[in-house]
Symmetry: C2
Subunit: 423 residues, 2 copies
């Protein structure tokens, strides 16, 4: 059995997990680890600090190294490091979702030119096997839809908001105290992290290049306890859903936003920091894969799984390996959110007068929107009422028009919330 030599970029939480797990597998030897601060204390027993370097190009330019493991994150200098490594014919295993979502097609192009492989199971949904199954077992399918909970932080916050009737702010604070959310939670709570992951999944599922800037991305910062309560009464729970769909006309619809998910839906049962991916294709039908989406241990499972699979393949061939395959030379035609069709939950603050339901119904009707449920909630002290509407499937631009028209009516004070619904 050949031993492969690897260099690692980054030694944070995931890096330490990968390093520790690799101690059980003598097929892969870590030659060097590039870190920002060589003197920082590492949580590894009997750690040989001679492995450390503060110059990643010591790894990239080391002719003995076969594989570069990148667990540093971010765009720069990760892009420059991995590009140089690929040009030096090194295979890549990375957990860097942002890099792949934003500059993946350049890296995959370089890898193809240089006959090397990039594996990235850990970049999406931590320990859940999803990239490799799409490329192997599921490769006979025409995948037409992915709907997924891909961000553990936001799912944790939404779970606590629902279970303990907390405000967003309080739930976020608790998540931060427990280490589920970062001090600056923007990347998670605004949906960017989920957008990177659904971009990667959509790319390999639909075999088309997805432009991350065209993904409609809406986070959870505006979710109100009253929405969660109303959703519950109506038989729904609120989740941040990352969705990718291949439409019949070949366009793709990729987006991230909160949704009311029907309680009977398998994604509604996914609690706390757990991730879950529903993938629908022909002929396989619907699959749901659920597991830990982050953390050193689940992520290291995927990084080391990729490493062992890669080295098994390298033992038999130097050719570009089938597992690298990802056709995304063609740009996807990404649909605008205004052109999508959804069911909607709309919470409206209105005067408490008898004609108001009629006004809402009329304006919705004029904008081609069929209402399936309308429910008046309690009356506030200022004699306004919250009215909750669930629509049938309607075009988003029609819904936006209807909301503008509603706001012109004297009886409508404001739109509290607009959320999409998944049944």
């Amino acid at each position: 059995m050949k031993t492969f030599k690897a260099g690692m970029i980054g030694l944070g939480t995931v890096g330490v997990g990968v390093y520790k797990l690799l101690q059980s597998f003598n097929k892969i030897k870590i030659e060097n680890i590039a870190v920002k601060n060589i003197n920082k204390k590492r949580d590894i027993e009997n750690f040989n600090t001679n492995l450390l370097t503060d110059n990643p190009f010591d790894i990239v330019n080391n002719p003995d190294i076969d594989i570069v493991i990148e667990v540093a994150g971010g765009i720069s200098p990760a892009f420059e490091i991995l590009s140089a490594a690929i040009k030096n014919k090194k295979h890549i295993v990375t957990a860097n979702k942002e890099l792949l979502a934003k500059r993946g097609s350049e890296l995959f192009g370089l890898a193809k030119e240089n006959n090397v492989t990039i594996l990235y199971e850990a970049a999406v949904a931590g320990g859940i096997p999803i990239i490799m199954p799409i490329k192997t077992t599921l490769c006979a399918n025409k995948i037409n839809k992915i709907a997924a909970i891909l961000n553990g932080t936001t799912n944790y916050i939404l779970t606590k908001m629902a279970e303990k009737e907390l405000s967003y702010e309080t739930a976020l604070k608790q998540a931060q105290d427990l280490g589920y959310a970062e001090t600056d939670p923007t990347g998670d709570v605004e949906g960017f992290d989920a957008a990177y992951k659904i971009a990667i999944l959509s790319t390999i599922s639909f075999n088309k290049k997805i432009d991350i800037n065209k993904i409609y991305t809406e986070g959870i910062t505006n979710i109100k306890p009253q929405d969660i309560k109303a959703a519950k009464e109506l038989g729904y729970t609120i989740k941040l859903i990352a969705m990718g769909q291949l439409l019949d006309d070949g366009r793709v619809d990729v987006r991230v936003h909160p949704m009311l998910v029907a309680k009977k839906h398998l994604l509604a049962k996914v609690k706390n920091a757990t991730n879950s991916i529903m993938i629908s294709g022909y002929p396989v039908g619907d699959l749901v894969l659920t597991g830990a989406g982050a953390g050193a241990e689940p992520t290291s499972s995927s990084v080391v799984g990729d490493l062992l699979t890669l080295t098994s393949e390298l033992e038999i061939s130097d050719y570009p390996l089938p597992l690298t395959k990802c056709k995304h030379d063609e740009n996807a035609v990404q649909i605008d959110i205004g052109d999508t069709y959804n069911e909607y939950y709309i919470s409206i603050q209105a005067s408490n007068n008898p004609g108001v339901i009629g006004i809402i119904g009329t304006i919705c009707g004029k904008n081609n929107i069929n209402i399936s449920t309308i429910m008046q909630k309690g009356i506030d002290e200022d004699n306004t009422a919250e009215i909750v509407v669930i629509t049938e499937k309607s075009k988003e631009s029609d819904v936006k028009n209807a909301l503008e028209n509603l706001l012109k009516s004297d009886s409508i004070n404001k739109i509290n919330s607009l959320l999409r619904v998944m049944n």
Copy 2:
């Protein structure tokens, strides 16, 4: 791109599904299909009946054929056909769970000797990717537990028994009428089908040879509506669970039996003919994979997924491929059901007299069994009462002893049911 030539054994429902799906992939060409009855009408448009042969050895001995696809099922002649094919250096893709569970180790041994690959994603859980993920993405894990719903027929019957309060017999009849159960349902309802599948999964998860005859197998034919009702009241639903565990001492515990599954458990939500696999390992934690476990379309997804993965690999190498890897030369030490520890649901038919709860409590206590719940159900016309007991974790042999002792008491008429519980 090379075109690979394949021969197919069997052209039943799954075979037709595979044949149709392969029409979209010109990398694989079906040269011949062996069937029992050449003259039978096939549900394939413009089908070229010249492909058919009633002699499978036409395929096995055809030097042009690279791959044999086996979708016929059964042990004989499938074993003889595949053995001969392997000796003739043909790679195998099979959906035959019974064959792999009973004679897999012989076939894998032959394949190793002959440098060919056997892929069998379709043999377990239809369209759900599980075999390949265990061999690739998850291969860095120490897998220590699988708990799964692997038989769609029994899950369908149990779902209908629960939802519509049907007897087993009525639910079976309805399942047969709808095509979910076969005319002779034995293989499904007695748990044999699930046992084949958990044997295969345990083998690759624990890397040890599992003896199918040592798997404790109990089906669903004795499940009573009153059990389902009592389970529901206690917060459980009844599922046929296939389980494999690697114990700390290296022994393995593989078995199939109905269980009361706590309603909050992800496996409790799996309805109708859907399959679901919970796999637990270190470092990945718990994963749950859910999807269609049978049927022509999901099964053909896995068969053709295997074929495309195999041919991608064959394009780069003739070596034995990493995906074939399965170390199971070592026999597992399989634990006897009597030595397992479980929580139990026990339904007891007893005289309606004041001392009976005391008798049950005393006998359980003498046998090291702690009771967590005891509930007296309605009184029958003959003045007997049904008493339902849920125990804490207890040794199966202790529970069996307690039941024997209970039956010696004049106050205990019979044990209606004994089921294990999963929380």
